[in-house]
């Protein structure tokens, strides 16, 4: 084949070629993530040795997300009340408490906090590891026989998986309280704060809160592994650092959504 023909074939950008390339890219990321996840799980015995690093990461993730998560949860809680009350106009608004409580704990809290964490901590992890890869710090660690999975990934993995459920619990509380606040101040809502909490108490089960937090554990672990994998894929040049950051967020969003569906189905079976 002539060189020019080869170039044309390589550069052809048909729809099927693009789809095929995207699918292969996705499978590659998935395969590498599973590989890193297994290697990280294999280094779990080193958790006590990395306790300090895990704690540092938890503080970093928590403090970077706390303000924005409060803000987000507060307004989501209020919007839920206002929108639901509007839909229930003419019916009973007594159910507001349970709707806000169940929506926050089972769905909105976990998914929104996971998206927030992917945008803040996930992108930061991908950028950090991509920078270390591009500037040969990862190679330097290997020459020092320092395990990348144990020294770099494990603390981020554990810290993210533990911090996200706590953030979700925090967001659940803020969202529910914000809902009560909206009930108290909005003249269009004809239900008392007492009735709101009474209804919440009647329908919200402890298991709903736990399931939401368990989702956070999975979402956190998935976000950490994906972000680390994408960061470590960077090879040359600083432009790969910024593309790793964006990719980590996009892939985390997609994967969290897919896992959310899977967990919801599994929970409904039981």
């Amino acid at each position: 084949m002539q060189a020019t023909e080869r170039l044309e074939v390589k550069n052809s950008q048909g729809l099927l070629t693009s789809i095929g390339r995207s699918v292969l890219y996705g499978l590659e990321i998935l395969g590498q993530s599973v590989d890193w996840a297994l290697r990280t799980l294999g280094s779990f015995r080193e958790i006590p040795k990395r306790a300090g690093l895990i704690l540092d990461e938890m503080v970093r993730i928590g403090t970077s997300s706390l303000f924005i998560s409060s803000f987000l949860a507060f307004f989501i809680g209020m919007v839920l009340v206002v929108q639901t009350a509007d839909q229930l106009e003419g019916y009973s608004q007594e159910v507001l408490g349970s709707i806000v409580g169940l929506a926050m704990t089972k769905e909105l809290g976990p998914v929104l906090m996971a998206f927030l964490l992917a945008g803040r901590a996930g992108s930061a992890m991908a950028a950090e590891l991509a920078t270390m890869q591009v500037y040969e710090e990862i190679a330097a660690l290997r020459t020092l026989d320092v395990s990348v999975e144990s020294y770099l990934i494990l603390p981020k993995f554990i810290a993210t998986a533990l911090t996200l459920p706590l953030l979700i619990l925090y967001a659940d509380i803020i969202g529910i309280l914000a809902g009560a606040f909206a009930v108290a101040i909005d003249p269009a809502i004809h239900v008392s704060v007492n009735a709101y909490f009474h209804n919440l108490q009647a329908y919200l089960k402890f298991s709903d809160i736990i399931i939401g937090m368990a989702k956070g554990l999975v979402f956190g672990a998935v976000t950490a592994i994906l972000s680390c994998t994408i960061g470590l894929r960077a090879r040359r040049g600083t432009e790969e650092i910024s593309s790793a950051t964006t990719s980590a967020v996009v892939w985390s969003f997609i994967t969290v959504t897919v896992f959310d569906y899977i967990i919801a189905r599994v929970v409904l079976i039981f």
Partner: protein, 250 residues
């Protein structure tokens, strides 16, 4: 510190390509135990690749890279405590961990593998920092160091592992001639204090002459020639002569 025996490095018929681009094309090279070899060559000839293969950071597409007879990638997978000898590498951009202070960077290997703690760790790290005259910078972070200091901190980190083989990737990159001369002195001091095998890749011939026992020219993916440093100026191989003349050594 204890004198080292050094390690013999052999690269036999090594090929390495990235995508469609062949970089090393059947390269053969031997580095004797205790020798300081400097590999020179134009940019993009694969000098750093040669070093990464020697360190076991990458695998050759074909051929063998042996360290005292052990394949480099096998050596890389042996745990730190069980390695029959130690190899360290100083990277082009120093590759210090920005989240750690100079002291913590130098101490990392010893702490990570439980090889020293307390006062002993402190002494070993300070020995390494003193040998590169950087003891005053122990509490600084890499972002607070000049290019020359970063390079010396990276050398101290390598020395703290008490290596038998030390690899330098473009050590004078981004350094002015005065700092390059200073770095050459540091390497000469290491050579006289420790009998280790040293491989340096650079395109800086002035620096190469200061530190080398032997200089090899990498050209078109192969070692085109190698000469003892004393014979460099009499070398007749045209590409090497071109290097010598460009560096205004003759």
């Amino acid at each position: 510190m204890q004198l080292k025996e050094g390690v013999r490095i052999e690269l036999k018929h090594v090929t390495k390509a990235y995508g469609d681009k062949p970089v090393l094309k059947g390269l053969n090279l031997g580095v004797e135990a205790g020798e300081t070899l400097v590999v020179i060559g134009k940019s993009g000839q694969g000098k750093s690749v040669l070093l990464r293969l020697s360190a076991g950071l990458e695998r050759p597409d074909s051929g063998e890279v042996l360290l005292n007879g052990i394949p480099a990638d096998t050596y890389r997978n042996i745990s730190a405590q069980k390695k029959p000898f130690r190899m360290a590498m100083v990277f082009q951009g120093s590759a210090l961990l920005n989240s750690l202070s100079v002291f913590e960077n130098v101490a990392l290997y010893l702490k990570e593998h439980g090889m020293a703690k307390g006062d002993n760790l402190d002494r070993l790290v300070m020995d390494a920092l003193t040998s590169v005259e950087l003891e005053h910078a122990r509490d600084l972070y890499p972002t607070e160091l000049s290019g020359g200091m970063r390079k010396r901190a990276a050398i101290a980190r390598a020395l703290a592992t008490r290596p038998d083989v030390l690899l330098f990737d473009e050590p004078t990159a981004e350094l002015d001639p005065l700092l390059s001369a200073e770095l050459a002195e540091v390497i000469q001091k290491i050579q006289s204090a420790h009998k280790m095998t040293i491989v340096v890749v650079t395109h800086n011939l002035v620096f190469a002459r200061q530190v080398a026992d032997r200089i090899a020219l990498l050209e078109d993916g192969r070692i085109a020639c190698s000469v003892k440093v004393g014979e460099l100026l009499n070398a007749e191989y045209p590409p090497l002569r071109a290097f010598i003349e460009a560096a205004a050594l003759a």
